[in-house]
């Protein structure tokens, strides 16, 4: 088994930059969302298509990122 059709792109989710990776393992698509800075993993999901896997990852990332409070400096 190999990761095939690996792709990464940067998107914005809930006001934060997110790195979204996706690839196919066998018949299943996998996706991983990281916050760009510092690069922490937010979500790893799977689906029947790339779109489905990415959509799940973005949804979970949005849930987490929307909770992040910005404090006055």
């Amino acid at each position: 088994m190999k990761a095939e059709e690996y792709r990464e792109r940067k998107i914005e989710v809930a006001g934060w930059p997110v790195n979204l990776a996706s690839y196919r393992l066998g018949a299943e698509w996998h996706s991983k969302a990281d916050n760009v800075s510092p690069g922490a993993a937010l979500a790893r999901t799977a689906g029947a298509t790339r779109e489905e896997a990415e959509e799940k990852a973005v949804k979970r990332a949005e849930e987490l990122l929307s909770r992040t409070k910005r404090h006055t400096v």
Partner: protein, 287 residues
């Protein structure tokens, strides 16, 4: 390899593909996301969970010597084994594991440059089965605490400016705008940074494919912030894993002699009663 001071501390994905089943080599995956290994991993590799196997789970600490020996023994690692560690997030917790292996004196431990991301992106073979490890009887050296900074040292260094202090968190964590990486729970009472620390986020040491930048670029990155190896360096982040990554860069890729990882990091300093805190980006220029 890219003019690094200690190129032997890194191996390429190509090297791992050719040596992963070598009986003298043990490949270990250490991820932030501890379930990632199950999705598929380097054939022949085993996994260590950072949150249960690479720390004391009762008190906050790294592994004791005895715990480290047990981990190595059950993992089939001998004193002569070439230990190759890789993981997600460009080797965050892989570097944390390597740092502990260095503390306990394992002779030959290396990172796979680019980590899990590069292995996947290159479409390399993945396995789902976990190989059996033949147990060993590992005897570690006593902890080399010259690689680790504790709170009193950091307080002294901050007060005297006797060390270069590197805050490797995101700029927003450094300024105090956020109290944890976006999307993660807040784990401190105060935001900001240790007085005197420079902001050099860990990720600046990496290329887009997860590999480390060449030595010349790294020297410019850290040297541009006054971190040139002329005085001791203390790296810190939130819980010590991102700073392990920077510690590795400074110690092994640039060859600075006196580099310590302050694993207490911001979850210690940012929760201390009475600790001085600097906030805002402008503070960086005063260091």
């Amino acid at each position: 390899m890219a003019n690094y001071a200690h190129p032997e501390a890194l191996v390429t994905t190509d090297w791992v593909a050719g040596h992963a089943t070598d009986p003298n080599v043990k490949v270990v995956e250490v991820d932030v996301d501890t379930k990632a290994y199950d999705e598929g991993h380097v054939p022949g590799s085993i996994a260590w969970a950072w949150n249960t196997q690479l720390c004391d789970t009762v008190r906050r600490d790294i592994l004791s010597k005895e715990q480290f020996e047990q981990l190595m023994s059950t993992s089939g690692v001998g004193l002569e084994t070439t230990l190759v560690i890789y993981g997600d997030n460009n080797n965050w917790f892989a570097a944390w594991a390597l740092w502990q292996a260095k503390i306990y004196g394992h002779a030959d431990v290396r990172l796979m440059n680019g980590g899990r991301k590069k292995w996947l992106a290159e479409g390399r073979e993945l396995a789902t089965e976990t190989p059996h490890s033949q147990a060993t009887n590992y005897h570690a050296k006593n902890a080399d605490l010259s690689l680790r900074a504790f709170l009193p040292q950091v307080q002294q260094a901050s007060a005297s400016r006797s060390s270069a202090m590197v805050d490797v968190r995101s700029p927003q964590e450094y300024t105090g705008e956020i109290l944890a990486p976006p999307g993660l729970p807040e784990t401190c009472q105060r935001g900001g940074h240790i007085p005197g620390a420079r902001s050099i986020p860990w990720g600046k040491a990496c290329n887009d494919d997860g590999t480390f930048k060449p030595a010349g670029e790294l020297q410019a990155l850290y040297g541009g912030e006054g971190v040139d190896g002329s005085k001791p360096v203390i790296a810190y982040c939130r819980i010590g894993e991102r700073s392990s990554h920077t510690w590795f860069v400074l110690k092994y890729l640039l060859g600075y002699n006196n580099v310590t990882n302050y694993d207490g990091s911001w979850t210690e300093w940012g929760n201390l009663v009475g600790a001085d805190v600097e906030k805002g980006a402008a503070a960086a220029a005063r260091g």
